[in-house]
């Protein structure tokens, strides 16, 4: 609603953005991720006020009974003006929610903002609840969740059940983002089974499918010379793949990937093992966006083509980016989600 305001709140220290959304900016007063990464659950499912940026990021590939594909996004971002909780209106913790539903020909997006400290938005670790306004991701714990969101022209209400363990990326959850060593804490729950109701302008739709939750926090996840990233989460017939490439100002890339077996065993791949190359572009909101990719991980014999279900899945929010469901063909078959940031 107040895109401009929030934009400046998110990146208060840089109007000329350093990397996508000012994520390449360093501020010494915030904590930085340390190695080895030691997690304490369920506490770490909750917020980490001493880090500048954090998110609870859920994407879901769904199908109606007739096979119509849908994509769904529920995201809660936390950004801190200062590394402390604070109380009431003066709390420096600010919250932003993005929710979206993608069909083959429509993309519904809505955005919410809230101040921390007054109860309008927040996350508690146990029992687990993440909320902003009427949107919530709530359960007794992370394994059983109910997820709701609504906007002016859509709403959804989903039940989620985790069928596998948490997955830790990089070095047991310490995910390096650049050659200089910028890193974030990063783990996922990629094994949700989902069932629920989508409410769209044309009526309600019963859907089911899978979902993938990402948890990540950091204070400076990007290096100053990184402009944005292309992130893939693929659910394939033989396992799941998370891979991303960070685009650097000198036209080089920094890549990272995690291969996840159906029972939750992981293999982390360093820079260079995973590759993603744009195959074709479309114009979205005046920007040139690659919505078809060739993705390879030779070590696993993966060489697939990734294509957007709806190439106009543009998140026209205060911090704009592309996020939408994809289909996978080639050596492996499956579905997934693609996120592309930093395209100006």
């Amino acid at each position: 609603m107040n895109a401009k305001v929030f934009f400046f709140l998110l990146f208060p220290f840089a109007v000329s953005a350093q990397g996508f959304a000012g994520l390449g900016l360093k501020d010494d007063s915030f904590a930085t991720p340390q190695i080895p990464a030691i997690f304490d659950f369920p506490r770490d499912h909750g917020p980490h006020a001493e880090y500048r940026i954090e998110w609870w990021y859920l994407t879901s590939n769904l199908e109606a009974k007739d096979g119509t594909p849908f994509g769904l996004q529920w995201t809660l971002f936390r950004t801190a003006l200062a590394p402390e909780n604070g109380t009431g209106w003066s709390s420096p913790q600010l919250w932003m929610g993005h929710a979206a539903v993608t069909t083959a020909d429509s993309h519904y997006v809505t955005e919410r903002f809230a101040r921390g400290g007054i109860g309008q938005a927040g996350v508690t670790a146990y029992p687990f609840e993440a909320w902003i306004d009427d949107w919530q991701l709530v359960g007794p714990d992370l394994n059983t969740l109910r997820m709701t969101a609504s906007g002016p022209n859509f709403a959804y209400d989903m039940d989620l059940e985790a069928l596998g363990p948490l997955i830790f990326h990089g070095n047991d959850g310490y995910s390096v983002k650049s050659a200089e060593g910028q890193a974030s804490y990063y783990y996922s729950q990629p094994f949700y089974a989902v069932e629920g109701t989508l409410k769209l302008p044309d009526g309600d739709v019963q859907v089911s499918g899978t979902a993938w939750l990402d948890r990540e926090w950091s204070s400076q996840p990007l290096s100053e010379n990184q402009m944005g990233w292309d992130w893939f989460s693929l659910s394939l017939d033989t396992g799941k793949l998370m891979g991303f490439r960070l685009r650097q100002t000198d036209q080089t890339f920094y890549t990272s990937a995690t291969w996840i077996t159906p029972d939750g065993q992981t293999t982390a791949y360093p820079d260079g093992a995973f590759s993603a190359e744009p195959v074709s572009n479309v114009t979205v909101k005046g920007r040139t966006i690659p919505t078809q990719w060739r993705v390879t991980l030779p070590d696993r014999g993966i060489d697939v083509t990734v294509a957007a279900i709806n190439d106009q899945a543009w998140m026209d929010t205060s911090v704009p980016y592309w996020e939408g469901p994809i289909t996978v063909t080639g050596t492996h078959k499956g579905v997934g989600y693609l996120e592309m940031t930093g395209y100006e």
Binding site: F8, V15, W89, S90, F113, D134, P152, A155, K199
Partner: protein, 799 residues
Amino acid sequence: MRRPSLTMTGLHALLSHWWRNPIQLFTLVVGLSLATALWSGVQAVNAEARASYDAAAATLGEGEFEQITSDSGMILQADYVRLRRSGWLVSPVVEGQLDNARLIGLDPLTAPNGLGPVDMSNGQLTVDMLTSGVFFARQETLDLLGEYDISLVQSPDVAPGVILTDVGTAQRLLEMDGFLSRLIVAPAQPMNQVLFTDVTPKLTLRTPQNGTDVARLTDSFHLNLTAFGLLSFAVGIFIVHGAIGLAFEQRRPVIRTLRALGFPLRRLMALIAVELLALSLIAGAIGVGLGYIIAAALLTDVAATISGLYGASVSSTLQFRPEWWLSSMVIAVAGTGMAAATSLFQLSRMPLLASARPRAWAMQAGRGRMYQAGVAFGLLILAALLGLVGSGLIAGFGMLAALLIGAALALPVVLDRVLAFGTSRAKSVIIEWFWADTRQQLPGLSLALMALLLAMATNVGVSTMVSSFRLTFTGFLDQRLASEFYVYANDADQAAELQIFLTPRVDKVLPIQSVDQDIRGLPSEIYGPTAHATYRDNWLFLQSAPKAWARIESGEGVAINEQLARRGDIAIGDKITIAGKLFDVLGIYGDYGNPIGQVIVTEALFERLFPDSRALQFGLRMDPVDVPALTNELRNSFGLAETNMINQAGIKAFSLNVFERTFNVTGALNILTLAVAGFAILMSLLTLATMRLPQLAPVWAQGLTRARLGRIEIIRAVLLALLTAAFALPLGLALAWTLLAIVNVEAFGWRLPMYLFPMAYLRLAVFAMIAAILAALWPSYKLARTRPADLLKVFSNER
């Protein structure tokens, strides 16, 4: 030695003309610059006026959004969070008195308009605002405050007497921790929402108050200012046209010589085009700068606005906006281009050895004039037709344009006829010659005179429009905001208590009762105000039956607003049905800006018709000085929210002040327009001066002194100015009438009454005469000082 190219030679010859005649160059550049400056000045003033009116409207109107309020005047912050978590997109407001200012706290993250007029593009400022606290207010408001550990940011767009800040800061300073004053409801709400009454049954959801009346009124003023801007554009184009036309006329000999020497016509025309483009760009740039200075000099908020140019902290009203200087440059360049196109066309058809035969020129102009008269007549007929049968805003503006252009084209034709009549009626030979010679000069002066006509007509039109508007608006404010203070009760019980509480404390409590009812199928409100001199003194009728107020007070009939009269096609004497009974319509009053119909009946009649209705609203007549104290008392005793109390006296004083400022600025602009038109006359006279020697020399030879010829020259300028003024007055009134009675009705559905201001017109005519005299002074002096040798050259055999 390198042989200079043909182009360079030609350019040198063309430019050397300016070098030899720097005054002509000066007048050309100044003429172009002034025309540009006028336009950009008007644009700046318009922008400023708009900003001021928006601020006034923001203060007058209680917001365009639905509001959630509480009977107690306080809303629990927990209720706010509960509403948000139930899917209600609402935004908190905390407001109250801080020292002598009104402190308004908003949450920029959820407020539908953010912080309204405050610019949040400074990231650090935003962070400070959300954490340590920032006050945004006008300097004069900030001056009212005591010491607070809060950064102060001067924001000229915030309404006077108001401080904007973060909701948290406001809560802390007003000691309202955990409480909010009211909630603003965002226009777009999500699909899934819990029923409002299920969330917070004690709170009230209110539709937006009728504060938009004033916004609509100012919309009308905006439109009129736009029309003024277009008129000044036309004046500017005319002046540019005149300046360029004269520049061609002056250089005719150079051009003729160049062509006679074999210079290719095409290249000559290209050279001139390039030269004029360069000149127009230079002059345009000067004009933009000049316009800015003019605007800055005319506006009172200059200090703030100039600092806004350099200090990045706040937005300001007077900025070098690109659309501003771009449009000004377009005036200069397009005006030059249009003028140059005709002149170049004539140049291309000019016989190689055409000699200056002034009378022949006049005769040819005479043939052209027939055609011109035809076009002018056609346009004036079109304007009349549009006025009679046209409908819609486009027709209104079309009528304005047809009227303006038609009148401008008609001017030389009319003047020619008047001067011919004067010639035929002259008794003395000098007077006969004076008329005849004036007539002969008409073609050379007509562009300048058209500019003068447009300038004067615009001035008449705009001063009529603006002054009519002021009278109407002040009348409207007196009518609508007649009471010094208004209080809205939350329910009938509170209203009863309030009435008991207020009666001993103020001069008079005027309960305002109203119900909504359809009249002839149109949604309307029925008002039953207490009979009091306040109404009789302040409600002016547009039309009324004899003794209307007395008869309305006796319950015989009712008064309705203009909107209802127009839409329901109701005239004086017609009958309307209220609560099943028939009543005569005895008066129709102006109700500027109100979107719906309204009927006024007496209090006694109202109580008879609607016995169950109770007044929730009270107008309080009292000493304005006591309003702040009473506000505090009501807040403390009844917990009334700020929105339940409206200090109309303060609002009225502020809005009148805003209007006053705009009117002063308009007055100053009027003088400027005339000055520019006067300059156009000066340029024309100077140019004609050299061409006129052959016409004057025989008169001189036959016994008239040069001094006398000079004096006649001044009288001629005055005569032409007076004739033009006589023509401009009806045109200006027609313009004003079109704006008020056609354009405004088409745009807003109500007609602004037109008032006449004879003294203002007289003053304008005097100004125009002074401008003409000043313009003629120098050419006349030059003529009186012409050496006999120069006059004798006319007679020399080797011409």
